[in-house]
């Protein structure tokens, strides 16, 4: 089954709540009304009884004769829903005042009356409700009579029934009104989502430029829209980088491959002495080594992106690895009359080959960019929150606009300059990758005086 729309769901649940609420209010109203009507009925009976008592006191003589029964009846007759019966007590007599309109239930006249008014509710055969007030009235001659004053309550009943009916009949309409109101409000409130939908349907990997406009959006949705826009920005950057990267990759591979092809074709174009074939093959191998290095560097980067958790780490003494790398470069440094030195010490957790590789790449760059007769210094510092290894060399300043991009794949500071012999353009990207695998960072800074400092920051080892 298709899930209900949000507007419909909200509309339905609001109507249910409305229904429950209306029901509660209705029953409370009904209860209050009937209580109030009872009270009014009792009060009016009480008042009438008082009047009757008063006129009985004046009118009745010792013979239990009523001088002016009309006066009594006048009190009652003004209200056609009232009915009066008076019985003698000692000796018991029949009703003094004959009003045949209602027949009291047989038990009522027998209920002993007191001087305090008592009330009895009853229903006759025609299902009409009555309230009867019963009181013992002492006459002047010390005799007593029982006064029964009955009130026909069919009007009250009709009123109650009518109010109940009205409420019940209006209920469905009310519910419909509340429900559709809720639906409409929700629907209107959610209408900005259509914007989201429109934008989302426009986005593909080819075109990530669409953004959700945050104008006139309610606060909650505007936050969401901003987050989504940020996400799209990041995705866009990622996709741009990726496509730039594959462009670069094919470019980087194209030149050695075209060299190879050309060399082989030229060599084969005519007969040559075998020495020349040999030279050509040797050249091919050099070119191929470059291709092979680019491919293995790429593979390394691709793996580094995915194998974050599967590499076992050991304790590594950074100074030992630094010295090992320096050893490898001692001859190159000697030829350029550079002075290489390592100072400081620090222990980290890591993969030895990767750490060597990161240090190697930095030192290799430093030596390449150092002028003759200068120093390349490897400084290891164990600080409170990190262990860092810095490779510091002097040379030309790296312009500030290049600094944030140096660790990108195939990034060149000088576009016109071709790759240094054998370089793949991936060295610093590999450094960054290695550092992120180790939970650390790689940073670079360069001063106008030409001191360039590449540093590897490792997290400290908990021991």
């Amino acid at each position: 089954m298709k899930p209900l729309s949000l507007s419909l769901r909200l509309g339905l649940s609001v109507s249910m709540m409305g229904a429950a609420l209306a029901l509660i209010i209705m029953s409370l109203t009904y209860l209050a009304l009937s209580l109030q009507l009872n009270l009014i009925a009792k009060n009016s009976l009480h008042g009438k009884i008082k009047q009757i008592e008063h006129s009985l006191n004046e009118d009745m003589d010792t013979n239990t004769q009523i001088k002016h029964p009309h006066d009594l009846q006048d009190i009652v007759l003004a209200h056609k829903n009232l009915n009066l019966s008076i019985y003698g007590v000692d000796p018991p007599t029949d009703n003094f005042i004959a009003s045949e309109e209602i027949s009291l239930p047989s038990y009522l006249p027998d209920i002993p009356a007191t001087i305090n008014t008592s009330f009895h509710s009853w229903t006759d055969e025609e299902n009409t409700r009555y309230l009867t007030a019963l009181k013992l009235v002492k006459l002047t001659d010390r005799k007593s009579v029982r006064v029964l004053l009955s009130l026909d309550r069919s009007e009250d009943k009709t009123l109650l029934t009518m109010s109940l009916k009205t409420a019940l009949f209006s209920m469905p309409a009310l519910l419909l009104l509340i429900g559709s109101g809720a639906w409409w409000i929700t629907h209107r409130g959610l209408s900005p989502l259509i914007k989201f939908n429109k934008t989302a349907s426009l986005i593909t990997t080819r075109d990530l430029t669409h953004r959700i406009s945050t104008d006139n959006l309610p606060q909650e949705l505007s936050e969401l829209a901003k987050t989504i826009n940020f996400m799209l920005n990041r995705l866009n950057d990622g996709v741009q980088q990726l496509s730039q990267f594959s462009d670069d990759l094919s470019h980087e591979l194209r030149s050695p491959i075209s060299n190879l092809l050309g060399m082989a074709q030229v060599t084969l174009s005519r007969e040559r002495p075998s020495e020349e074939y040999k030279t050509a093959l040797e050249c091919c191998i050099e070119e191929l080594e470059r291709v092979s290095r680019i491919v293995s560097d790429m593979l390394f980067l691709a793996q580094a992106d995915h194998s974050a958790s599967s590499i076992p780490f050991d304790y590594i003494f950074l100074e030992k690895e630094a010295v090992r790398v320096i050893d490898l470069f001692s001859i190159a440094a000697e030829e350029k009359q550079l002075h290489l030195n390592v100072d400081g010490a620090g222990i980290i957790l890591g993969d030895r080959i990767m750490i060597q590789r990161a240090i190697y790449n930095l030192v290799s760059n430093a030596i390449e960019h150092s002028p003759t007769h200068s120093n390349v210094r490897l400084a290891i510092e164990a600080r409170r929150n990190k262990v860092s290894l810095s490779v510091i060399n002097s040379g030309e300043e790296i312009p500030a606009q290049h600094l944030p991009h140096l660790f990108e794949r195939f990034y060149r500071v000088d576009q016109s300059r071709s790759r240094v012999e054998g370089g793949t353009g991936l060295g610093l990207a590999i450094v960054r990758s290695i550092m992120s695998l180790h939970g650390g960072t790689a940073e670079v800074s360069s001063t106008p005086e030409g001191t360039t400092n590449f540093s590897l920051n490792f997290p400290i080892v908990d021991r």
């Binding site: 191998i285 793996q303 490898l328 470069f329 190159a332 080959i353 590789r357 190697y360 290799s364 370089g423």
Partner: protein, 224 residues
């Protein structure tokens, strides 16, 4: 020593057969796993070189089936260098695992190591090639009766070349064994070190022992 190459790319299979034959091995080749298995069951090979990516029956299946019936040593070749592949190969019983592109001398070196494992040759402390002699315990080198002064790296390099006399060692192998750098680094340290070693070991003398195989590596041998 008899080697079987199971590799579906004809060019790769050809150059492997050629290269290995020229290095003194008897080499058979097969372009698919089924033929390869058939050959394994018919001959007693000392070593099988097995490509992972084969049509039909792939390298993993072939490896399992070979392991079911023999203890022949197996070197797996793959174009995919994922760690999980390597672990899988070694788990299934491969003896070694090489990622393409690899250097031919490295393959040769691994084959030699694998085949040598059985023989357990004791490594002598004194090595001698022609009139060049080194004493690895005393860290001394002599050419005839003349003592040669070497730095410690130069000595390590010479020691390595003499241990593997007549074997071509690639630059990567030398860097890994002498400088303990185990990744493919692009440095000229080997070229320069060899040049310096030559200046001390070869140049003053008539018989040249250290030879460059351009594009491949270096070898120390007496060619006379």
């Amino acid at each position: 020593m008899r080697i079987l190459v199971i590799e579906d790319e004809p060019k790769a299979a050809d150059y492997l057969q050629k290269g290995l034959s020229e290095n003194g091995y008897i080499v058979d080749k097969s372009l698919n796993g089924i033929d390869g298995l058939h050959l394994v069951s018919q001959h007693n090979y000392d070593l099988v070189i097995l490509d992972v990516n084969l049509p039909g029956l792939d390298g993993w299946d072939v490896l399992k089936l070979i392991r079911d019936r023999s203890n022949t040593r197996v070197i797996m070749l793959t174009a995919r260098g994922r760690l999980s592949d390597k672990v899988k190969g070694l788990d299934l019983g491969a003896d070694d695992f090489l990622v393409k592109p690899f250097e031919f001398p490295e393959l040769l070196a691994r084959i030699r190591t694998l085949l040598r494992r059985r023989e357990n040759i004791a490594i002598a402390s004194i090595l001698k090639v022609a009139d060049l002699e080194i004493d690895s315990v005393g860290h001394r080198a002599f050419r005839g009766s003349k003592r040669i002064d070497l730095t410690s790296k130069e000595f390590s390099l010479l020691h390595l070349l003499m241990q593997h006399t007549k074997e071509v060692l690639s630059r990567t192998q030398i860097i890994s064994l002498v400088w303990d750098m185990n990744f493919d680094c692009n440095t000229n340290v080997v070229e320069v070190s060899i040049r310096r070693l030559r200046a001390k070991v070869d140049e003053p003398f008539e018989r040249k022992l250290i030879h460059t195989i351009r594009g491949v590596g270096y070898v120390l041998e007496d060619r006379e």
